[in-house]
């Protein structure tokens, strides 16, 4: 066994132990904290799978923003006095669930070990098409060129998630703003973060967007980092969540999918197929679309965490 293998094994055990803890913990908050730690470790696992793009996404969205969502939700639930009063389920039910879980996991493990070798792959096709897109990062090429249709639809899913979350508002609050993310008074340490961390973070976000065409990174990761920065500013109460009726907010939320859809439609007339890019112009167009995707993601994620509008528009 090489050192790397020992390391992998240790990592695997650690990940599973914490995952088990998040399920077993009695307190809601304890499991949420466990989940954040678990997400951090999971992005290291992704590095070990040679998937830096996924690792970045996992760190930013899977662990980072989801962690904040869970923490915020947990705190709001606790604030309203609604955490955990349930009796644990009956033993028979737990045994049944456990048996089913073990069965599924065992079958999955067996099948995963039996997957064919050498594995079928689309890497050669992806390599072949890369030249036409002018990109260097194949994952970005899949997302924005080969399977752009999926990516565009997934952005629409995000818009719908916002509509769904907002639709849960009380009627009188419609067009108002979501509840603030932070507590009342701005405070030293947080203001320090606003001044020091946030500008650096924005720089990192722009950097990830820019290198994403050729190296790991891209619209998702950059957007998520920018979203995190905006949320830090909102937590420190330097700015408040915007009113859901604000025109600029609506436009920012749909900008990504709308520009994506418009260029996709234009491709039908100009590049010989919907969502195709004209030869020679692929890369600038892709970067153009991605810029709007970054904007939309950076606005969408914080709005999803902030929740439905809670203040009537007048106040």
């Amino acid at each position: 066994m090489s050192i790397l293998q020992v390391l992998d094994l240790g990592l695997a055990i650690l990940v599973l132990a914490i995952a088990g803890w998040t399920i077993a913990a009695r307190e809601l908050f304890a499991s949420v904290v466990g989940y954040v730690a678990y997400g951090l470790l999971l992005s290291i696992v992704w590095i070990r799978l040679h998937a830096p793009d996924v690792a970045l996404t996992e760190a930013a969205i899977g662990s980072g923003v989801t962690g904040v969502l869970l923490v915020t939700t947990g705190a709001r639930l606790r604030g309203a006095g609604g955490v955990e009063t349930a009796a644990p389920p009956r033993l028979s039910q737990r045994l049944m669930a456990g048996a089913l879980a073990v069965l599924v996991a065992a079958a999955l493990a067996a099948v995963v070990l039996l997957l064919p070798e050498p594995a079928p792959t689309l890497a050669p096709e992806a390599r072949e098409g890369l030249a036409a897109t002018g990109l260097g990062n194949p994952v970005t090429a899949v997302l924005i060129a080969y399977r752009s249709f999926d990516t565009m639809l997934e952005k629409v899913v995000l818009v719908l998630a916002v509509v769904g979350v907002w639709s849960l508002a009380p009627d009188r609050c419609w067009a108002g703003a979501p509840a603030p993310l932070g507590r009342a008074r701005p405070e030293g340490a947080l203001l320090f973060l606003d001044q020091a961390l946030v500008p650096l973070g924005i720089l990192v976000g722009v950097h990830l967007f820019w290198v994403g065409a050729d190296e790991p990174g891209g619209a998702f990761q950059a957007g998520a980092i920018l979203a995190a920065m905006w949320m830090i500013v909102m937590i420190s109460r330097l700015t408040e969540p915007p009113r859901v009726g604000a025109r600029w907010l609506r436009l920012a939320l749909i900008a990504g999918p709308a520009v994506f859809l418009a260029t996709g439609l234009a491709g039908g007339g100009m590049a010989g197929g919907f969502f195709a890019y004209p030869a020679g112009f692929a890369k600038p167009i892709i970067l153009f679309i991605e810029a709007f995707l970054v904007l939309s993601i950076a606005v969408t994620l914080p709005m999803l965490v902030a929740g439905p509008p809670r203040r009537s528009p007048q106040s």
């Binding site: 997957l115 064919p116 079928p120 249709f149 899913v157 719908l160 769904g164 849960l168 197929g273 195709a276």
Partner: protein
């Protein structure tokens, strides 16, 4: 570029498929950006366009007798995403367009933006979500790639769940949350299965998968996981518990769409999976299990429907039963047997007729509840005389549920019955007969008190136009019973390739 094999090549007119999807998607974005009254105008304005595209697609496929194919971004699978419309896609597209259009015009009375406000919550959400349901269903009906279909499933979830709790009442919130949990469970299991299939074959394109398919352990597990996920989304017994409260508590127009169409989306995907991706698997056991679960759903749903006090709940439970019939398509239409054409026609006909009949019934129930101020069946006495058109629509829809002629439901059940007799699989036939009797029981329970004499005061008479919409859908459900043989031949378009693989 490598030459595209003929099975994957795009056909003329394929771009209509992209337009069919992009029209409602653009509608969602436009409605959200413009907000307020524009959302309603965009949605209503799109319905004729969508209908026209759906019928144009159907006409093209009818004329050529072959599926319509489009490769998005000009990239054929496996790297690119293909869209394909065959016979069943076409009829489902048309049915979805019709029901959505009807629901939209029906809903105008409930979801107009009130005067004096720029924008109100429920109307904005409703008009956006209804277009989203439409977009998602369109992709589900024409998608040719299992991952693309996963995104469509998620789109459907995000559209359908908030529709359930538009009113914001606590019981609707519980129903929506429960629905969301089942739906999330369903999509994640579907995704897991898709991962295994990709691991085994390096593609998620339906045609390519079908060509490469062999009975590997990974394939069996993938099929099991994906089916379990899809069943949870379709609310097949025993994963049905979320459906009745969700469908019964949503606004009437939303219930019509949810019960008539949304559950059909995941059912359609199950059909795609078993008949188009996995036909090479030695079937039998799996199909029998699905048929058995369907039978259980028929009996269980019908008995529960008989016991409901409220009309909307009764109709929702009847959906459980009618979903059960759909799953008889698996034992009765798979394999290379002389009876599978009947089984196939019957199953698809059941999907269509239930879509129209159930939408009509939920709309009528909505009108009733608005006019009477309640939907307690026991207090319906005299209502039949006060609102004859509404009850006529209810009755006509009920006819189709019972499977009495003339109705689409009759044609469907007759075909399924014929197939099960020809196959010598009597148990399905017995279930269908029992289900028909039970359905007669619960439809009678609605109509009998309503037709009895009694004095009733309507809070407000129902709008004629809305009654007409419900009635029109019910008439379509009945008229399907007169479908000619050429219609059933059309349902086989694109299926020959799949069955030939066996």
């Amino acid at each position: 570029m490598i030459e595209t094999p003929p099975a994957l090549a795009a056909t003329a007119g394929g771009s209509l498929l992209v337009l069919a999807i992009l029209a409602p998607v653009a509608g969602i974005l436009l409605s959200f950006a413009l907000g307020g009254r524009f959302a309603e105008r965009v949605a209503l304005g799109l319905t004729p366009i969508g209908l026209a595209i759906a019928f144009a697609i159907a006409a093209l496929v009818w004329r050529s007798g072959a599926p319509l194919v489009y490769n998005v971004a000009g990239l054929p699978p496996p790297l690119g995403i293909a869209l394909r419309a065959d016979g069943i896609s076409c009829v489902m597209l048309a049915a979805a367009a019709l029901v959505i259009a009807a629901a939209a015009f029906y809903a105008r009375a409930n979801f107009a933006t009130p005067k004096g406000v720029m924008e109100a919550r429920a109307p904005l959400a409703f008009w956006i979500l209804v277009q989203a349901v439409w977009a998602a269903l369109t992709i589900l009906f024409v998608g040719g790639d299992l991952f693309n279909l996963y995104v469509a499933l998620e789109l459907l979830t995000f559209a359908a769940v908030p529709l359930v709790c538009l009113s914001g009442k606590p019981e609707t919130l519980v129903a929506a949350l429960r629905y969301l949990m089942f739906a999330l469970f369903g999509s994640v299991f579907y995704l897991l299965g898709a991962a295994l299939l990709y691991g085994a074959y390096g593609t998620l394109d339906i045609v390519l998968l079908a060509e490469r398919m062999r009975a590997l352990p990974a394939v069996w597990l993938a099929a099991g996981l994906m089916t379990a996920g899809l069943l949870a989304k379709t609310a097949l017994f025993p994963l049905h518990l979320w459906l009745p409260p969700a469908h019964a508590n949503a606004p009437a127009a939303a219930s019509a769409v949810l019960s008539g169409l949304v559950v059909k989306g995941s059912f359609f995907l199950t059909v795609r999976l078993w008949f188009y991706v996995l036909p090479a698997l030695p079937g039998g056991a799996a199909e029998a299990v699905l048929g058995t679960l369907g039978s259980a759903a028929v009996l269980f749903g019908s008995v529960l429907a008989l016991r409901q006090e409220r009309l909307k709940l009764l109709i929702a439970y009847s959906t459980l039963a009618q979903i059960g019939y759909l799953f008889l398509i698996f034992p009765l239409a798979s394999g290379a047997h002389p009876w599978v054409a009947d089984g196939w026609s019957g199953g698809i006909m059941q999907t269509l007729s239930h879509a129209f009949a159930k939408a009509a019934m939920f709309m009528s129930a909505g009108l009733l509840a608005e006019s009477l101020g309640h939907d307690r069946i026991a207090e319906f006495a005299g209502a039949g005389r006060a609102m004859p058109a509404t009850f006529f629509a209810l009755g006509l829809g009920g006819l189709s549920l019972m499977g009495l002629p003339p109705s689409g439901g009759f044609a469907a059940k007759w075909l399924l019955l014929r197939a099960s007799v020809a196959a010598g699989q009597w148990s399905w036939a017995i279930v269908m007969l029992a289900g028909g009797l039970l359905a007669a029981g619960y439809v009678y329970r609605i109509l009998a008190p309503a037709l009895s004499a009694g004095a009733i005061v309507l809070e407000a008479p129902p709008q004629r136009s809305r009654e007409a919409i419900a009635l029109a859908l019910a008439i379509v459900a009945a008229a399907l019973g007169f479908a000619p043989q050429s219609f059933f031949d059309f349902l086989e378009v694109g299926r020959a390739a799949a069955t030939a693989l066996r």
